[in-house]
């Protein structure tokens, strides 16, 4: 599901913390995500 409508999308590793524990997933965020 590669987003289109922007100059720059970046994949980012995102940390998820639930009551059962912590894990990470890869998501997209629009560019300039410093």
């Amino acid at each position: 599901d590669v987003p289109t409508s922007t100059k720059k999308w970046e994949q980012k590793q995102v940390q998820i913390k639930t009551l059962e524990g912590e894990f990470s997933v890869t998501m997209w965020a629009s560019g300039g995500d410093d």
Partner: protein, 446 residues
């Protein structure tokens, strides 16, 4: 709903209204003068965010992941993960407030994500469910709210800056005013020579009604000011030495200068939005040609003898039109007051021995604005500019929009250019914490 502070100061909440009227709001990208307009196309349906979960027993704040179901201006309809296609728990949020976070934000502050009570037992292993739902989907950039704050801040106009602005009591004259407050680029101006306490006037810093110091004398526009001020301006025009509190030309939006040597002449006829009745496009005349491509326009049939109701338009203004514009676009043209019979330009020009301003003189560019009829917006009532009201785009004619104020009769509609700085996306007032006038509710007599 789970939103905590709907609708800014006045409390009007767009969410239920958009749902109950099943209407759409104009996209933020339609409003070039508004925060986040440039990158708003990156905000899409299906995006995931983290939002406070009010349906939870934990003592401290808990959050959960929500999906953007619908976008309406800055507002967004949200559904918490786990509700599938069940719409009954959907809720509205403003994407540009501190209540919405990118996915991953909770982990950075050590807070757990906790599903709402009503679905907490729906999945034995929420991790597996979330990995499947989140992998490859989109979220906000981590610095999204910083970008919002940055794009709201304006470094040009501050409290105490002096400007020249149209005199609200005599539209053919300018007056000196001081910025008292700035909200989202909207200036609350106080006339410097005013005797009354709150003789203020609201207008946006990009409005054609406001100009830098010395503008009136540079263009030849009538100016209501003390002689001392006028002398100071003449000196500033020569020396280009401004006072630190003076608004200077580079603080203002550049106006498009006309090409070619054909010029407007006094006496030329045209069609113009009546500045004193914005729902009308009228038969009008060029009454005076000022410098720097500004014109004083009078509305035929209702001009005061002394020209006190002439109004200044730039030659590139999108509020003046060639003769025949209304007819071509199927719009009502208001004839001169007292005109007998069916108005026809051909006969009127003959009777008045006047000529129509050549079509070539008018700016015919139509930007891709994106507005459509039925789009909801927040619109300034230009007859009472401190008020921002819930409104609807009722008609689109090229770049011209007819704005209807919800709950009011059509006679209160206002013709506005699509790039007018007096139009805002749904949710703008909430972001700025400015009161939004909801639709007028008619009280039926018993």
């Amino acid at each position: 709903t789970v939103t905590s502070r709907p609708g800014g100061v006045k409390g009007f909440d767009w969410g239920p209204y958009l749902s109950s009227t099943s209407s759409d709001a104009a996209s933020v990208s339609c409003f070039k003068h508004c925060p986040m307009s440039d990158n708003w196309l990156n905000i899409t349906v299906g995006m995931k965010v983290e939002i406070q979960n009010h349906e939870c027993d934990l003592p401290e704040h808990a959050y959960w992941i929500a999906t953007v179901i619908k976008i309406a201006g800055y507002k967004s309809l949200m559904r918490f993960e786990g509700f599938g296609n069940d719409t009954s728990y959907d809720f509205w949020m403003n994407l540009c407030t501190q209540d919405v976070h990118p996915v991953g934000w909770c982990a950075t502050i050590g807070k757990p994500l906790v599903p709402p009570k009503s679905i907490q037992h729906k999945y034995l292993d929420w991790k597996e469910y979330l990995v499947k739902r989140l992998t490859g989907s989109r979220t906000l950039p981590s610095n999204f709210y910083n970008k919002v704050v940055e794009s709201i801040s304006n470094h040009r106009f501050k409290k105490g800056v002096n400007v020249e602005v149209v005199d609200k009591m005599c539209v053919s004259a300018m007056r000196v005013a001081t910025v008292d407050e700035v909200i989202g680029g909207r200036l609350r101006l106080q006339y410097v020579d005013s005797k009354e306490e709150n003789d203020d006037f609201w207008c946006h810093m990009r409005s054609p009604l406001v100009h830098p110091i010395t503008w009136s004398q540079r263009s030849g526009h009538k100016l209501h000011a003390i002689q001392e001020y006028k002398n100071e301006c003449l000196n500033k025009i020569i020396t280009e030495n401004y006072h630190p509190t003076d608004a200077v030309p580079d603080m203002f939006h550049k106006v498009k200068e006309p090409m070619g040597d054909l010029k407007f002449q006094v006496g030329m006829k045209l069609e113009a939005i009546d500045p004193l009745n914005l729902s009308a496009i009228c038969v009008a005349t060029v009454m005076k040609v000022l410098k720097n491509n500004y014109l004083m326009i009078g509305i035929d049939g209702s001009m005061a003898q002394n020209g006190s109701d002439w109004f200044c338009y730039h030659t590139s203004s999108p509020c003046i039109f060639p003769v025949g514009f209304c007819e071509i676009n199927g719009l009502d043209l208001t004839p001169p007051r007292g005109y007998k019979g069916q108005f026809k330009w051909f006969e009127y020009l003959k009777q008045s021995k006047s000529t129509a301003a050549p079509v070539k003189l008018f700016d015919k560019e139509i930007p891709k604005h994106g507005f459509k009829p039925s789009h909801k917006v927040e619109a300034v009532d230009l007859m009472e500019p401190r008020l921002i009201c819930v409104a609807t785009v009722s008609k689109v004619v090229g770049r011209l929009l007819r704005i209807h104020f919800d709950g009011w009769e059509n006679e209160y509609d206002q013709w506005v250019d699509s790039e007018s700085p007096d139009l805002y996306p749904a949710g703008w007032c909430e972001v700025m914490n400015y009161g939004l006038e909801g639709p007028r509710v008619k009280v039926e007599p018993p």
